[in-house]
Symmetry: none
Subunit: 205 residues, 2 copies
DNA sequence: AATAGTACTGAATATTTATACAGTATATTA
DNA sequence: TAATATACTGTATAAATATTCAGTACTATT
């Protein structure tokens, strides 16, 4: 198999992304729009080159008749997600010094997309089935609803709790363990930063 | 989600097969040829019914713009693991009728290899952080040690418990929930089959 | 008895799409 | 120096395709 050029690789990635996103391959026009080409023939020639080099098959006379030859090229299907362990005070969560290791896993593994895994310390969410050393799939978002399990940062300490907004100024962070107490936060007095919410969990026995 | 009819299910299977075979969804005409319809409108009406019932999405004005809501991945994919739901009495665990759906995941995702996921029913292992609807990664093995979480079948009922061998003839299956009682099994009286053991867990929030 | 859903045939049509043709330009190879 | 591959724009068009309309027939529900 001949070498692929940078542009051809962009087209190949574009096809992969399009399939992952929509479930079906793109048209020439779709590729043009995605990569900024102004003529469908730009896509066409790249496709012919990719076919010649064995990266794709093109079903002649068929709309969207592009198929990827090497299904392992589906690496967009398997991304590496970092596991965040102890988060140093003040440092950005995803800073490399906080990354324990990475896990290969599909971005669509859980019902919602997510950004990283957080390794759980302590048993404050025990009754929600979240145990020490479990990996919580964290989605970085500010779109939090009451009852969501949130990853919150209060004065440089990271904690995982149920979220409940009592009033515009008062937020409760509730553990799922009777040995722990609710944390009541008055936003006028105490600063709180919501890192995101839990969208899933993995336990390595 | 409403019930699917026999014909609609044939169309759904046809779409799945077509995608697995070609890499892209079929046209109305393709479906007609495959299923012996003589008018593209036969396919069209089935597709609209399937969309209405939530099995597929149709991108309007787009050729081959069909995408499956719950796509089953090619069985040749080494990284597709079945989720086993309710296991019918007497039927082999991995029989296709027991497969709820499949999950894409690396075989080496957990520390030990595994064979399938079991969807948990009930809260008998609550204090071990195993909640209802969690997915347990099950390794089919007879190599069980005391303290392992096993998937056991006792008289056609499947249960997840801690395993403890008291003597060559007596086995205890211990729940992790004080509302449940230990199950003591005398192997001379009661037959027990160990399906395997838990090597990990996934929770889809 | 009327309504709605399923399950088709058959034909018509507007839109989508692949694909060919005509160019321009640059870099690499023989 | 000529040939070849890459990397595009721009236009045109035949073929592929979605989608609508007009029917027929059966079944289940109200």
């Amino acid at each position: 198999m001949k070498e692929i050029t940078i542009q051809q690789n962009k087209v190949l990635d574009c096809i992969q992304d399009y399939i992952n996103k929509t479930g079906f391959p793109p048209t020439r026009a779709n590729i043009c729009k995605e990569l900024g080409f102004k003529s469908p023939n730009s896509a066409e020639t790249h496709l012919r080159a990719l076919e010649k080099k064995g990266f794709i098959n093109i079903e002649s006379g068929t709309s969207r008749g592009i198929s990827l030859v090497n299904p392992k090229v589906n690496k967009n299907n398997e991304d590496a997600f970092p596991i965040i362990g102890l988060v140093a005070a003040g440092s950005p969560t995803l800073a490399s010094e906080n990354i324990e290791k990475t896990v290969n896993c599909s971005p669509t593994f859980f019902r919602e997309s997510f950004d990283y895994f957080l390794r759980v310390k302590g048993l404050s969410m025990k009754d929600a089935g979240i145990m020490e050393d479990d990996l919580i799939a964290v989605k970085k978002t500010q779109d939090i609803r009451n009852g969501d399990i949130v990853i919150a940062r209060i004065e440089d300490e990271v904690t995982v709790k149920y979220f409940e907004r009592k009033s515009p100024e008062v937020v409760h962070l509730k553990p799922a363990n009777e040995d722990f107490n609710d944390i009541e936060i008055n936003l006028k007095e105490t600063e709180i930063f919501i890192e995101g919410k839990s969208v899933g969990l993995i336990r390595e026995n």
